[in-house]
Symmetry: C2
Subunit: 402 residues, 2 copies
C-alpha cells in the first residue's frame, strides 16, 4: 500500500540542514523509499531518547553512545529492516553505515547517528545500504520536496507521512522546528518511542540541557502513546539544533514549541495505528501524580476489551473502569467519574443514566473518541493517545512479518 | 451459542455435597442456565483467592470478609450479571442473596459465599434471583448430572464447560477433588482469577493452612494465565473441604492434586479464549526467580503482535524476543534462546537457521503452540497459558457488552 504523502510546508524549513529520501532497495517494493539522510552544514547540538526495551537494536546501541553531543553532523535512517536481534554482526553493520556516511561527508564517524526500522532478526543487506549512502550523499538538498521525500523514506506500515512544524521569534530573528516521525504498530513507548527526528536552526549551546528538555518533552508526549502495548526494540527520538538561524529563543518558549510538535506527532501516530478506525484520546484528571494518571491511562489504552468496544461504538464504561482498576495506580471508585465524549456515564462509583444508543451513534460517526476520567481531587493529570482494535489489525499482523 | 456440555465423570463426585444448576432468568436466552448452588451437608473448611483489581464486584467484597472459615455451608453463583460497579445497592443485593440462601438452608448468612459473573454496571434483577434461590434449594442433588448442570450454569461466553477431578487415598480411605471453572474473556489474573470452585470431601482442619495452600496453588496455575490482559472485577477461586469422606490425605499429596486440577482448568480457560484458534503454552526457563520468569511469560502472552503471529502461523520470533525485552525482568540477550514447538529459532542472542515454511505448516495444523524461552542459567522457570488473537475476538467483543 502506498502511503499518503503530505507535502512539507516550505515556510517551516530550518536553515542549515540538507536532506533526502531515496529508494536504495531494502524494501521489496520497486517504488518504496527506504533510506533518509539528514545533514547539518555545521555542528549541531544533539540529544536523544531511546527505547527502554532490554533488547535494543544495533543502531540504538550506537546512538546511545553518541548523544548528547555538541557536534553532530548527520542522521542516517533506513526503513524495511530494524537491524535488531542481529548480534555482533548487526553492531558492525551499524558502525559501517555511520563510517561510510562520515567518509562521504568529510566528518568523523562519531558525528553520525544511525536509525533503523522494519523487520526484526534479519541482517541488513549491507552492500545495498552502502550503495544507497553513496547515492544519498549526492541527492542532498534543502527544498520542501527533499524534506517530504525524507519523511516518506522513514515509513514502514504507516499510511501517511507525519510532519509537525513551528516557528519562533526572538531578538528580531526567527527560527524553526521541523519534526518528522514514523510509527503505526509495535507502539508502546516507555521513556522513548518509535522514530522521530526534530531539526531546529535555533541556537542551543548546551547538549546536556537539550537532553533534559527532550526527556521532559518526550515523557509528556511520545511516552503517552500506545497502539498495541508492544514496546519496540528501535524506538528513538533525536533532536538536532544547529544554530544556523542565529536566533536564540528563550528556554521556556523553545520547550513549549518542542512539546507542541511532539504532541502533534504522538497524536498522528495513534490516529494511524494499524487498522485503526478511531483515535482514542484519554484524559485522566484528579490523580495524585502524573505517573499515576499515566498508569491509569495506559491500562485503559492497552485493554483489548476497551479497544474493541470503541471499534464497536459501544459506550461500555464497565470495561474502562475495570481497566483503570488493574492499572496499579491508587484511586477510590467512590470519587471516580467517567465521560465518553461529553456524556457522563459513571458518576462517583455508580452508573449514570444516559442515552446509550445516541452516544453509540455519535461514537460511530466520529473519527475521535475522548475518554475523560476523574479519579479524585488530586492535582495531576495526563493526556494519552491510543486507537481502537479492529479485525484489520489482526489480519494485517497475522500476515505481516515485523 | 450453546456451549458444549461435558458430562461430569460419576467416579469423582465428592461425598457430602449437593448442588444444582438452573435457569432463573438473568440471561435473556430461554435455555441458558444462570444460577448454580453448591451445598455442603456439614460445615466445610473454606478458603478463597480474589482479584487484585482495585475495582471489585460486590460478591467479592462479601466473600473476602467470609473466608478463610471453618464452617462454610454453601456457594451461590449467578452468571449473566457481574454485580460490579453497582455501588452500595450492589453490596446490599449480594448480602440479600446470601441471606435468602441461608434462610432456605437453615444456616447463618455468614456461612454462604456468593459469586457473580457477566455484564458489569447493571443492577441484578433481585426478584428474579430470589425466586431462583427458592427453586435452586428445591433442586439440589448429588448425581453427576447435578454437577454437570452446575458447571453449565456458571458459564458466560465460554464455549464449553470446564471440569477437572482427582481422587486420593490415605489410611485405607479415599477422597476426591472436583473442580469447575468458567472464563473465556477479561482474563488476566493477578493473584486470583475468573471463577473456579474446588470441592473436596477430604478432611482439612485448619482454614488458614488451606488458604495458604490455595494461594500457592493459584499463584502457579490461574495466575499464569491470560486471554486478553484485562484483569476482571470478579475473579474468585473458592475451595471447600467438608471432610465427609473421613479420608485425611497428607498435606503434600493434597497440594499436588489441587495443583493438577487447577493447572488443567487454567489450560482449559486459555484454550477456550474468546475467538481463539490456538492454545499458546509458554515455558520460560533459566530465570533468576519465578516472578521474573512469569513477568517475561506474561509480556509474551499479552503482546497482540505475538498473538496475531501465532494466529497467522508465523514463526515470528522477533516479536517474542522483543516482548520479553520490555517485560521489566532482567535477562541477557546473549544467553537467551527460543524454541517454537521443538524448533530452535534464536540461539544465544542471534537468529538460528530453520525451515520457516515447515514450522509455519506445523503451527497451522496444531491446536497448541509451545514457546520455550531459556533466558540464562538461573534456577527458576514458569509455565504460562494463553491463546492467539483472531478477527473473531475483535468481532465478538465489538458487539458483546461485558
Amino acid at each position: 500500500m502506498t502511503p499518503r504523502i503530505v507535502p512539507v510546508d516550505p515556510s517551516f524549513l530550518p536553515t542549515g540542514f540538507r536532506c533526502c529520501g531515496i529508494r536504495c532497495g531494502i524494501k521489496i517494493s520497486a517504488t518504496a523509499r527506504d533510506l533518509a539522510l539528514f545533514v547539518s552544514d555545521q555542528n549541531a547540538c544533539a540529544a536523544g531518547t531511546f527505547t527502554t526495551n532490554r533488547v535494543v537494536a544495533a543502531p540504538v546501541v550506537l546512538c546511545r553512545e553518541r548523544v548528547p553531543a555538541p557536534d553532530i553532523r548527520a542522521v542516517l535512517v533506513n526503513s524495511g529492516n530494524a537491524n535488531a536481534c542481529t548480534g555482533p554482526a548487526g553492531l558492525e553493520d551499524a558502525a559501517t553505515m555511520a563510517h561510510r556516511t562520515a567518509v562521504r561527508l568529510g566528518c568523523r564517524p562519531e558525528q553520525v547517528l544511525v536509525c533503523s526500522t522494519g523487520v526484526i532478526g534479519v541482517r541488513l543487506p549491507l552492500d545495498t545500504v552502502l550503495r544507497g549512502i553513496e547515492q544519498a550523499t549526492k541527492e542532498l538538498g534543502s527544498t520542501a520536496e527533499h524534506w517530504t521525500n525524507a519523511a516518506h523514506a522513514i515509513l514502514t506500515t504507516d499510511t501517511t507521512t507525519k510532519v509537525a512544524a513551528r516557528s519562533l521569534e526572538a531578538g528580531g530573528k526567527s527560527c524553526r522546528i521541523l519534526a518528522i516521525a514514523k510509527g503505526a504498530g509495535m507502539i508502546a513507548p516507555r521513556m522513548a518511542t518509535m522514530l522521530a527526528f526534530l531539526f531546529t536552526d535555533a541556537v542551543v549551546d548546551n547538549p546536556v540541557w537539550l537532553a533534559e528538555v527532550l526527556r521532559r518533552t518526550v515523557d509528556r508526549t511520545f511516552n503517552c502513546l500506545s497502539v498495541d502495548g508492544h514496546t519496540s526494540t528501535n524506538d528513538s527520538v533525536l533532536l538536532l539544533a544547529n544554530g544556523a538561524s542565529r536566533c536564540r529563543p528563550d528556554a521556556e518558549t523553545l520547550e513549549q514549541k518542542l512539546g507542541e510538535v511532539c504532541e502533534e506527532l504522538a497524536r498522528a501516530i495513534a490516529a494511524d495505528g494499524e487498522g485503526a478506525r478511531h483515535l482514542v484520546v484519554i484524559r485522566v484528571e484528579g490523580a495524585a501524580s502524573f505517573e499515576d494518571a499515566r498508569a491509569i491511562a495506559r491500562a485503559i489504552a492497552d485493554s483489548p476489551l476497551v479497544k474493541t468496544a470503541v471499534y464497536g461504538a459501544d459506550p461500555n464504561w464497565g470495561r474502562i473502569i475495570s481497566a483503570a482498576g488493574y492499572s496499579g495506580a491508587p484511586f477510590d471508585e467512590r470519587t471516580t467519574s467517567l465521560w465518553i465524549n461529553d456524556t457522563l456515564v459513571y458518576r462517583n462509583g455508580q452508573p449514570a443514566a444516559f442515552d446509550r444508543s445516541e452516544l453509540s451513534k455519535q461514537m460511530k460517526a466520529a473519527r475521535e473518541v475522548v475518554l475523560r476520567l476523574t479519579v479524585g481531587t488530586g492535582p495531576a493529570g495526563c493526556l494519552f493517545w491510543s486507537c481502537d482494535l479492529t479485525e484489520e489489525y489482526v489480519r494485517f499482523n497475522a500476515s505481516y512479518t515485523t
